[in-house]
Amino acid sequence: MMMTSSLWLPVAVLLVLAGLAMVLPKAFTIWMPRIAMAFLVASLVALAIGQWRLADAMSTWFYVVVAVVSIFALWFSEPYVKLEAEHLRWTVADVKRYTGILLIFIASLVAVAVWVNFFWLWLGIETATLSSVFLVATPKSRGAIEASWKYLIVTEAGGLAALVGMVIALTVTGRPFDQWNFVSTVVFVHSGVSGRWILIGAYMALIGYATKAGLAPFHTWLPDAHSEAPAPVSALLSGLKLAGAILIVYRLFDVLAPYVPPSRLKDGLIILGLLSLVVAAGFVAFQSDLKRLWAYSSIEHIGLISLGLGFGGIALVGALLHIWTHATSKTLLFQNAGTVRLLYHTSQSTQGAKALLQRTPWTAGMLALGTAAIVGLPPFAPFWSEWLILVGGFQTASHRLPDIIAIVLLVIIFSGIALRMPSWLWVPGKKDHLQKIKEPWTLLAPNLVLAILVIGGGIGAPFMVHPLWHHLVLELMKNPI
């Protein structure tokens, strides 16, 4: 499948809406995200009834995740930005710029989900990075500017490494540019193929995309960027952009697998996955900022996804499912953390964001629900996806040791989050800080629907989209890596 117009169309529509949001008067700006939401819903319907087809089941699966999470982020963003703009005194131009860039960010995430050519995928993830750098800087506070700068430096260095690595690896295989995609089944073999350069290119690409995905030890930008960004942006970054970057690497490794031993490619994913769990385990228990806590949790979960992709087999299915379960649960958590920041003017437990269950029970209830899901408690969906990843690790003898280490680290992370959460949820602050705070229904509504999705839809998703899931599982099981 080539880069057909049906793959360009959704990206083009969202980019046009982004442009209109920035140039039209403010009264019209507010309608652009709403039209984008309607468009994303329509695209999901078109996929469901077979009127729109993507390259393969994995693309379709990731597009569904991107569309659903983006709809919730756009829905939450409208009331969130209205309150944030009042609080931080944004100008009309600031609001229009934020809305436009948010739509560009979503368009680039859609591109990462639906495009098939590796060069265009690189451009997609680059656009996602650069647009989100500007979004992270939106609050214009010193912390936000520093975070965006760190984000830019680390991930752009990685992006350039990914470009060079990808170009070297693919050109050395002898594939013509129009075959630089993951849907071509042709294996190009010629006498001059250098396995060493393919491996060098593959590892350069892995390091490059790992910086985009926030995998340790290239994660240094992530806690700052996630904690400083507006809440809907944090949700999109954590749930979609990190997973999109790691999926591109997986696709690239899939294409390179016939030329180099697949185990040497998979080992890179496993090592980075384990390192990410180590970093999360080391830092999660010491966080006093709610958004920063979920940022470290994102490092943990992208590490788990990387482990699943590296283990292969049933763990691969778990990794794909985990992209969905993590994205929905983490969006719920980041958006409610954003509500906390708006209502309490901080998300730090040491600066007044305390006794949330007593003062803002709906928001705190959803935070508790999301926490139970994200730490992997049954019967929430992340439990099942983590289970598949860990069981998959035990199926191969050489993966058992990393799998056992991962389980130990997950227990440490679980304990860390379980220790920290009470300091926000029910540990009381000073007596004069215990009055109730009114929770605007405009902020609650999107999160309540998302909470229902996390409880019911999260666990039921594979069954609700059974035909797609069936195809996906079949495709993954015959995968070479």
Partner: protein, 211 residues
């Protein structure tokens, strides 16, 4: 033969400027060195365009317009701030950086000799420059210096991807370079935004490394 010499000259110019930008980044010199490095990239692309890929003339023109004029102009109006925050002061620091740059360059040259690339020597020089720019990124903390490191890395990556990796279609070469140019412009714009918001080029409020 002439083509090979021109390739090596262009590649060497890119490498020399990568090392020079690592060492000296006063307001005027940084922009000048960046322009010279971009000239190396344009030269490399021009050799390929002359030889067999005429579409790459588009890249040559864009590189000249954007990297010679637009980006230095975007990063131009911070003279006072740069003079306050940045200064190359110590010879010991410079010597150390030169030794490290030499080590990274040797590493790049050795890597270029691994069989499989079309132009091992130029690839090795550019890989050396690439490593030097990576080292530059991790050895300094003020935005002015890191901006130039990243812009230098962007130039080297564009040149490496288009010119050295292997035969790719002209339109793909143009696409890769356009991608790298867009990234460069956005980097420059963000650097200016950050400087004008923070009124400093030092994001960590620490005295930068001397040298």
């Amino acid at each position: 033969m002439t083509e090979q010499i021109l390739w090596r000259l262009a590649g060497s110019l890119i490498w020399v400027m990568a090392v020079a930008i690592l060492l000296v980044k006063t307001h005027q010199s940084a922009r000048l060195l960046y322009r010279l490095q971009a000239l190396g990239e344009a030269g490399l692309l021009a050799v390929i365009a002359l030889d067999h890929e005429p579409l790459l003339w588009i890249d040559v023109i864009m590189v000249l317009l954007i990297k010679e004029i637009a980006i230095p102009k975007i990063l131009g109006p911070q003279k006072g701030m740069i003079a306050r925050d940045y200064g190359a002061k110590g010879t010991v620091g410079m010597t150390f950086l030169l030794f490290v740059a030499a080590a990274f360059t040797l590493g790049g040259l050795a890597l270029g000799q691994v069989p499989g690339l079309l132009h091992p020597l130029v690839a090795g020089v550019l890989l050396g420059a690439w490593f030097v720019s990576f080292m530059h990124l991790s050895s300094r903390y003020e935005t002015w210096s890191m901006s130039w490191a990243l812009l230098s890395l962007d130039t080297i990556s564009g040149a490496l991807a288009v010119a050295v990796a292997g035969p790719i279609p002209e339109f793909a070469g143009v696409g890769i370079d356009v991608g790298a140019l867009v990234v460069a412009v956005l980097l420059a714009l963000l650097t200016r935004t950050i400087a004008s918001t923070l009124h400093t080029t030092d994001v960590r409020d620490v005295e930068e490394l001397i040298g």
